[in-house]
Symmetry: C2
Subunit: 209 residues, 2 copies
DNA sequence: TCGCGCATCGGTCTTGGGACCGATACGGCC
DNA sequence: GGCCGTATCGGTCCCAAGACCGATGCGCGA
């Protein structure tokens, strides 16, 4: 029997979830919470196997509540169920430790299936959330385009970020030391850096390496 | 009508998928491929909306075929369907551009639903793959433990990696410049670095920043 | 008790890094 | 033709960085 806690600030939603859960074989509602703080409290007291967590709640939002529950009781699995399909919600929930993220318009049967998946230790996301997560995995936010530097400067920058000295860069690019120094100097100005260390940091932040 | 290409080296599997697809409303099989190379060829010729792609195939594996198809025809969506649930497969497929990743033991009805999701532009993964992707998102591989340095040295290292000068670090830690220099010097030796730039690189590679 | 690792501090010395000055050449653009 | 951005190169100057030497005090385990 999978013991479920329902956390949502709307009583109607809670009741609806409770009916759905209790009618599903193998599931049982063991508690309700109307705020994030309540969810944490009840989660600590009743140790449910699964928490259906809303994001927007008074006192404490669902993300923060998820963070605390997951931190204190890792065996408790949290399934985020929200009306709004926002990036920050998804990323925040996952960072907080949620095992799943679904929208409230998910058909009941699918919700039950999803709860089984989550309770079994696997994870599951709404398709839109999946797409975004994959997107971020494949193409992590690269603020590289923000660097307003020339192509040659970019080449020099990556070599600097590889730890090469100006002399080594000069050899590598078949130019004189003076030229490299000029490029580095221009880079320092353009990127508002004091030393080449800042250039390395900028390169890493821009995902150039 | 969603036009589907089935790529799998086993004729039995292809036939099975074809029957399933053609019996589903809104779907139509437009081609088959027994190798990755064939999949690329047929994909280029027939421009299917969706490709059911196996990973292990002769001539060219499904990952590489996916990479080429996605590179040339971004509107073609690839759903990876494989027997084996391996990390490299999942990550490789996603990097290659696949929009989904399912196991061959997926029930037919769910496969059809998944194909609808994929065709609609969203993404979908098998629960085990979802869990792993989330895991990697939340807790990216951190080679931080590998650094054999003292606690104080670690503190200095992160400040170096933030771009601070030795003097600034000294102020920040309420110690003398000499002390900082000693720590930096020890760090350079321990991490086999020639300059502080290498320290910054090491810090970033170790995910210390 | 002695040794060892760690953190702390000071000194000297060399060198690469960076600021700042200058210059030439090439290509695109109005 | 003239302007501008870019890439190239040279020189001078200064200083932070780093190597290398020394030292002290503290805690911990053999």
């Amino acid at each position: 029997m999978i013991r479920v806690l329902v956390a949502d600030d709307q009583a109607l939603i809670r009741a609806s979830f409770r009916r759905l859960i209790d009618s599903a074989p193998g599931f049982q509602t063991v508690g309700e919470a109307a705020t994030g703080a309540q969810a944490v409290t009840v989660g600590a007291r009743d140790r449910p196997d699964l928490v259906l967590m809303d994001v927007r709640m008074p006192e404490m939002n669902g993300i923060e509540a998820t963070r605390r529950i997951c931190a204190d009781y890792p065996q408790t699995r949290v399934l985020m169920v929200t009306t709004f399909d926002l990036d920050e919600y998804v990323y925040g929930a996952l960072q907080a430790g949620a095992a799943g993220f679904l929208l409230k318009d998910t058909p009941p049967a699918e919700l039950i299936r999803s709860m089984n998946v989550i309770a079994s230790g696997e994870s599951l996301l709404a398709p839109t959330a999946t797409r975004r997560l994959i997107q971020r995995f494949v193409n992590p936010p690269s603020r590289a385009g923000g660097l307003d530097i020339t192509e040659r400067e970019r080449e020099v920058l990556v070599l600097v970020a590889r730890g090469m000295s100006n002399a080594e860069i000069a050899q590598s690019l078949y130019v004189s030391l003076s030229t490299v120094k000029t490029h580095v100097s221009n880079l320092l100005t353009k990127l508002d850096a004091r030393t080449r260390v800042h250039l390395v940091i900028a390169a890493y932040e821009a995902r150039l390496v």
